[in-house]
């Protein structure tokens, strides 16, 4: 499973930007509209996409997309 690849359309949808490209190093400082509401919408979209349950704090503790990928991997294991 290429989690980063599956996260791309989620980020593009949440931030309404089809040209957005994320990497493992992408963090909230890199995307202007990445606020707490965007974080919530990412949580919900990720839960649905990967069929996992996240606590809001799980993602708050993730400092970049790479941490999110590892978190998703751990939930799917």
């Amino acid at each position: 499973m290429d989690i980063l690849k599956e996260l791309q359309p989620i980020f593009q949808d949440v931030f309404d930007d089809e040209s957005l490209v994320i990497t493992n190093k992408t963090c909230s400082a890199d995307i202007e509209d990445w606020d707490s509401l965007a974080q919530i919408r990412l949580v919900v979209a990720i839960e649905k996409q990967f069929d996992i349950k996240l606590n809001f704090s799980d993602l708050q503790n993730a400092s970049n997309v790479g941490d999110m990928v590892q978190l998703i991997q751990s939930k799917k294991a």
Binding site: D16, S28, S36, R41, V43
Partner: protein
């Protein structure tokens, strides 16, 4: 900036982790808001802080209440995006959880009052309301406010509006108590009635020049009934100041408006026309995108009988 606002800013930054290596979005929002404080709003918020402190509230309590308000908003937002609807849908549920819970209401209303200073849409609405009072309300007789909440808006109506009579109706005793404190300076000079009631049960022979329903429609089960009754209580040349929100989860929001059109259809059905309006989409978005992505939209209107 006056001292009380500066001290409040420092308390907010302290709570949101100022001094750590990484600045978070809450700190940024506080710094941005305080960098662009309108003079009139600053005066009003200093007055609010002064009154609150005289009534025993501390600046740390105010800052903690605002943090609480943000936490509750995030919790309800998570629920909303997971489930597609607000958590509660009946008045009974929120009376029990919120309005009859004095401790919760005190923190909630205090946090909401602080958001007037920090949330762009609340600031814009305050300016809209102030302008309306200045331009339309001199030498008018009767003012009715439903859902006074923290009391800031009706205190400004008393200060600026020049009405002969003020009726303030709220379903929450805690809100009425807060409002009485906010308006204490006007008790001896203005004719004011504070009425603890569900507006739908409120009876009055009075017909009002101005009715204010600010952030109320989303808190009621039957907004159409609410508007129908409001229209009956308006003078023929009266005005209704109304604000509400779309896709905006809070713990006591029970009626979900999904589009602006849904709101404006209710006005038409109630025989109310739009004199003025202000739409505030979610920051850095458009109305179209906010509706499509179910992001919060705030709307304000001056309505008249048609």
């Amino acid at each position: 900036m006056e001292n009380s606002l500066q001290l409040l800013k420092e308390e907010l930054l302290r709570i949101f982790g100022a001094g750590t290596n990484e600045r978070n979005s809450r700190q940024t929002a506080v710094l941005d808001a305080f960098a662009h404080v309108d003079n009139d709003l600053a005066t009003i918020m200093e007055r609010y802080i002064d009154i609150a402190q005289k009534n025993g509230d501390t600046l740390p309590f105010m800052a903690e209440s605002y943090a609480f308000f943000l936490d509750e908003t995030e919790k309800e937002s998570l629920f909303f995006y997971q489930e597609g609807h607000y958590r509660y849908s009946t008045l009974e549920e929120v009376v029990h959880q919120v309005y009859a819970n004095e401790t919760y209401m005190k923190k909630y209303m205090t946090g909401l009052a602080i958001s007037l200073l920090l949330w762009p849409q609340h600031k814009q609405f305050f300016v809209f309301f102030h302008t309306f009072l200045h331009e339309h309300c001199k030498r008018k007789h009767a003012y009715l406010e439903i859902g006074a909440g923290h009391g800031i808006f009706c205190s400004e109506a008393m200060r600026e509006g020049g009405f002969s009579r003020y009726d303030i109706v709220d379903i929450s005793e805690t809100s009425l108590a807060l409002t009485k404190k906010m308006t204490a300076e006007f008790i001896d000079t203005h004719e004011i009635r504070f009425i603890h009631a569900d507006f739908l049960q409120f009876e009055s022979e009075e017909r009002y020049d101005v009715i204010s329903i600010s952030e109320v429609l989303e808190h009621v089960e039957t907004p159409q009934e609410f508007l129908d009754k409001s229209r009956k209580l308006m003078k023929d040349d009266g005005r209704l100041y109304l604000t509400t929100c779309i896709n905006a989860p809070e713990i006591d929001h029970i009626y979900l408006f999904r589009t602006i059109q849904e709101v404006e259809d209710l006005f038409a059905s109630a025989g109310l026309g739009i004199d003025e309006k202000l739409y505030v989409p979610y920051k850095n978005t458009t109305i179209a995108r906010s509706e499509r992505q179910k992001l919060p939209i705030n709307v304000a209107y001056i309505l008249k009988k048609i």
